[in-house]
């Protein structure tokens, strides 16, 4: 169910919604959808089922007409003769060997290169990255002839290396890793750098452990692609002893001819390893393949060409819902999206933002409209003090004003209304999903004193309306505001508790210096996994306890005396319990 703004809540709409959702599970429409979807799923499973049915028949009965699904007996003869021929084990071995080596090499070489592209500035970086990005559009199929010739001169035809090395060339791996690394604030490695760690150690000990989601995606994608690669092993091998599963199986038909039970048994057996892996790790495999495969386009090359990297935050190869991890960098504001953004490191087209007084640009509200302020989202599954969730957005204080552009009435207007509930920025209260306190180092701090007072003066409060609530449920705090906050201080807030938003103006405007230490870190929300329902994930927390990139206009004077105004980015990384400095020290 949805959120209704207290001041505007109307009984009529909630009743209607309730009636609709009350029996929404099995409406005729849903049943029709289910039937159609099941029909398609059935059709999709049919070929595999038919292959299995054929493989289980005695060979003589496979080619009877009319078609029948079952033979007179069920026999495993076809499977046993397939296994005993020995070829299949050889194919398994070759496929496993080739795919494993290809995957390992791709992950290591790709992540290493991506790290250098993302984090180390060196001469020629942009041009190299552009070259590699451009490789994305080179169709491998167009290279088979020259590659074969080249490997012939190297003497690599009919060798494992000849099969492996051309498959390692995967610009996509570099791209995925680089986007991942770009999304992690640099501050993470600062302390390690101050300790004198070299680029290699930083890569291996800091970035690679962080990059597990990207590694998993790239590894799965590479392994599956390589395991199923037909074209290249087919061309480069002629010796039967080097055949991989796809190549070996291609010879099965001519070998067995019309012995369809054998043919089907062998093809099922050939498909088996990856199929089992897929059934076991369905989610990971689907995500790895789709997230990596969908990035095979030109954007990487363009990134490299325009601005050695920091740009587009809206497409990061970061897995969702990984608790306690940087999930996404700050989304850029709309007008900055997909634009070249100046980057601080190389070229130095601009000076870095002066961190004046230990505050970052956002805290000084530079370049941030008066009506905007940083808002952090909390989502289900966020961990205590973790850096996670949808990142931090610079929100407009009154999104409704933006959202209510003249449009068709109807659904759109309702959308705006729903968004009002989501974003209610005028709301002066906040419930901390569960906030007994935040462990900080060894200290355990309670919610800031006096949090309760700020509950007063709310003019709008978001209230979840559930099915059994009265139609005209008023926006009220269950058990009173004080009570709630007191309870929040001690226990977790119950899932079904209404959510209140505390005022956060003070975070930015009272004493920023204090806010930074005493307040901000305190406001971070401790949650155990799943303690927030999806309805509650709307809670807003008024401070930047997550990774944050802000864009601000900075006027700088170059050494030649020229002054220019430009936008500049600055990222902040702030993680409770991390050994790194939480805020830049001035």
């Amino acid at each position: 169910m949805s959120v209704v703004a207290g001041t505007r809540s109307s009984g009529r709409t909630t009743t209607r919604t309730r009636r609709r959702t009350g029996n929404s599970r099995w409406t005729p429409g849903t049943i029709a959808a289910l039937v159609v979807a099941l029909l398609f799923a059935f059709v999709w499973l049919l070929p595999l089922a038919w292959a299995l049915a054929t493989a289980l028949k005695p060979d003589a009965e496979t080619t009877v007409t009319p078609v029948s699904w079952f033979g007179t007996t069920v026999t495993l003869d076809a499977f046993s003769s397939g296994f005993s021929s020995g070829d299949i084990w050889k194919w398994y071995f070759n496929s496993a060997l080739v795919s494993t080596v290809v995957t390992l090499l791709t992950v290591f070489l790709g992540s290493m290169a991506a790290f250098a592209f993302s984090r180390v500035s060196f001469r020629g970086r942009e041009i190299l990255y552009f070259l590699i990005g451009a490789g994305l559009i080179v169709p491998f199929q167009a290279l088979i002839v020259p590659l074969f010739e080249e490997l012939q001169t190297f003497g690599m035809v009919d060798t494992y290396w000849g099969m492996i090395l051309p498959q390692v060339v995967a610009p996509i791996a570099v791209l995925v890793f680089k986007r991942f690394f770009d999304g992690i604030p640099k501050e993470l490695e600062e302390s390690a750098r101050l300790d004198g760690a070299g680029a290699w150690r930083i890569y291996w000990q800091i970035w690679m452990p962080l990059a597990k989601p990207a590694t998993a995606a790239v590894a799965i994608f590479t392994f599956v692609t390589s395991w199923n690669n037909f074209l290249w092993p087919f061309i480069i091998t002629s010796a039967g002893s080097l055949q991989t599963i796809p190549v070996g199986l291609a010879t099965v038909q001519s070998f067995y001819g019309a012995q369809y039970a054998q043919v089907m048994a062998l093809s099922l057996v050939g498909a088996l390893p990856l199929f089992i892996a897929f059934v076991l790790f369905q989610r990971q495999i689907v995500e790895g393949i789709s997230s990596t495969g969908s990035k095979a386009d030109l954007r990487g090359a363009r990134d490299g060409l325009v601005h050695g990297g920091a740009g587009r935050f809206d497409h990061l190869a970061v897995a969702w819902r990984q608790p306690g991890r940087v999930e996404r960098a700050q989304r850029t504001r709309r007008r900055e999206r997909r634009r070249p953004v100046p980057r601080g490191e190389r070229g130095q087209r601009e000076a870095p933002v002066d961190p004046g007084g230990g505050l970052d640009a956002a805290q000084r509200r530079e370049g941030v409209g008066a009506e905007e302020r940083p808002v952090a989202w909390i989502e289900e599954g966020d961990l205590a003090g973790g850096v996670s969730g949808g990142g931090v957005d610079l929100e407009r204080a009154d999104p409704v004003a933006v959202r209510e552009r003249p449009r068709r009435p109807g659904a759109r207007a309702r959308v705006a209304a729903a968004q009002l509930g989501v974003r209610l920025s005028r709301v002066h209260h906040l419930v901390l999903g569960e906030q007994p306190g935040v462990a900080r180092g060894d200290e355990h701090r309670g919610v800031r004193q006096g949090g309760g007072q700020r509950v007063e003066g709310a003019d709008v409060v978001a209230v979840r309306v559930r099915e059994r609530d009265p139609d005209d449920r008023r926006a009220q705090l269950r058990g009173g505001g004080e009570d709630l906050l007191v309870r929040a201080r001690e226990h977790r807030v119950d899932q079904r508790e209404p959510v209140v938003f505390p005022h956060e103006v003070r975070v930015h405007e009272a004493q920023p210096g204090q806010a930074l230490d005493g307040h901000c870190s305190n406001w971070s929300v401790r949650q155990s996994r799943g303690s927030l329902s999806s309805r509650q994930r709307l809670s807003l927390v008024p401070c930047r306890m997550r990774s944050l990139e802000t864009w601000s206009n900075v006027t700088s004077t170059t050494s030649s005396g020229r002054s220019s105004t430009h936008s500049s980015s600055r990222s902040l990384f702030h993680r409770l319990g991390s050994p790194l400095p939480r805020w830049p020290v001035s």
């Binding site: 949805s2 499973l45 292959a51 180390v120 199929q141 095979a296 997909r338």
Partner: protein, 325 residues
């Protein structure tokens, strides 16, 4: 960053800048060292073959033979008049035109159906995506078996329903259709999961708000789901077209380009020129033309995508997913 140094700099400060510079240089060296393994492989097995193809396309070169003779642009002249090659290119294009619409539309439709509050989503994901992890040879064996006349599954059911048998693989008119059917079955899952991911990103509140307003399920799909899926659809189409243009494996394995070369795709023509006729120089020229064609199509599509994105950016018909979140 670099500000003018005051005239009198203490020795310590100078040492510090020297130190910093040394550290930077060391880091830059490490950067090169880290990029070079990948770049070396990349250079050897991607960039160099491209250059090599350009170079050998200028020769009359034969696989295994030691002697090559300079031919200039002769290979290109020959391929311009080579009807077989252009027919093969047409087959590739035809395959793309036939396979892209079902692969995109069916994936979209199924993804919407499945996410429409159906139970057991894993079952559908399994059914539709599992074929994608099968090796091409397995897929071809399965379909070859199903397409058989007489005792094949498809023809068996066609005759049971009282229809005439179709000689799927032997008839020039139906062979390409058979390949398209196989490909749709095999690769639909990829587009399907891209759509599923995009659909899961659409906020539930939108549907709830629409439902509150009395929108029917169909209206919700039409006014919320479809517009929000435009960026994904663009991506899916781009990836699909590029993938379809590279078709070779399944056509080669299922039909060897037959019957009567009526399905032979461009890649197979290149392959045969090089590895059955041993005309490497000519095959290189063909590769280059094929390569240029693919790059051109890719670039055109990316330009179109950017235009769509830009026009969406200025006057979005509906808020984009990012905006809503």
């Amino acid at each position: 960053m670099a500000t003018a140094q005051p005239a009198s700099v203490s020795a310590g400060a100078r040492a510090r800048t020297r130190d910093a510079r040394r550290r930077r240089e060391k880091r830059a060296r490490a950067g090169w060292a880290m990029v070079s393994p990948f770049f070396l492989v990349y250079l050897l097995f991607l960039l160099w073959p491209v250059v090599g193809a350009l170079w050998s396309s200028l020769f009359d070169e034969s696989l295994g033979a030691a002697s090559t003779t300079w031919r200039g642009l002769g290979n290109y002249g020959e391929l311009l008049g080579d009807n077989d090659f252009w027919t093969a290119m047409w087959h590739t294009l035809l395959f793309t035109l036939l396979s892209t619409p079902p692969l995109v539309l069916l994936a979209l439709g199924l993804a919407i159906l499945v996410t429409r509050a159906l139970p057991a989503q894993w079952l559908f994901r399994l059914a539709f995506f599992a074929p994608y992890v099968l090796p091409v040879s397995v897929v071809v064996l399965l379909f070859n078996w199903m397409f058989q006349p007489g005792f094949g599954l498809i023809n068996g059911y066609l005759t049971k329903l009282g229809m005439a048998e179709v000689n799927w693989l032997g008839d020039e008119g139906t062979a390409m259709i058979a390949v398209v059917l196989l490909t749709v079955w095999w690769t639909l899952g990829f587009n399907f999961v891209l759509y599923i991911a995009a659909l899961q990103d659409i906020s539930k509140e939108l549907y709830e708000a629409a439902a509150m307003d009395g929108a029917t399920a169909w209206q919700q799909v039409r006014s919320i789901t479809i517009p929000l899926l435009v960026p994904t659809t663009v991506l899916v189409i781009v990836l699909q077209v590029i993938a379809s243009l590279k078709v070779f494996d399944q056509i080669y394995l299922l039909l060897q380009g037959g019957p009567n070369f009526s399905t032979r795709p461009a890649v197979q023509y290149v392959f045969e020129s090089a590895f059955t006729q041993y005309r490497v120089g000519y095959a290189s020229a063909l590769s280059i033309v094929f390569f240029v064609a693919i790059v051109l199509v890719s670039l055109l599509m990316f330009a179109a995508v950017r235009r769509i994105q830009r026009s969406q950016g200025t006057a979005a018909p509906v808020a984009t997913a990012e905006e809503i979140r």
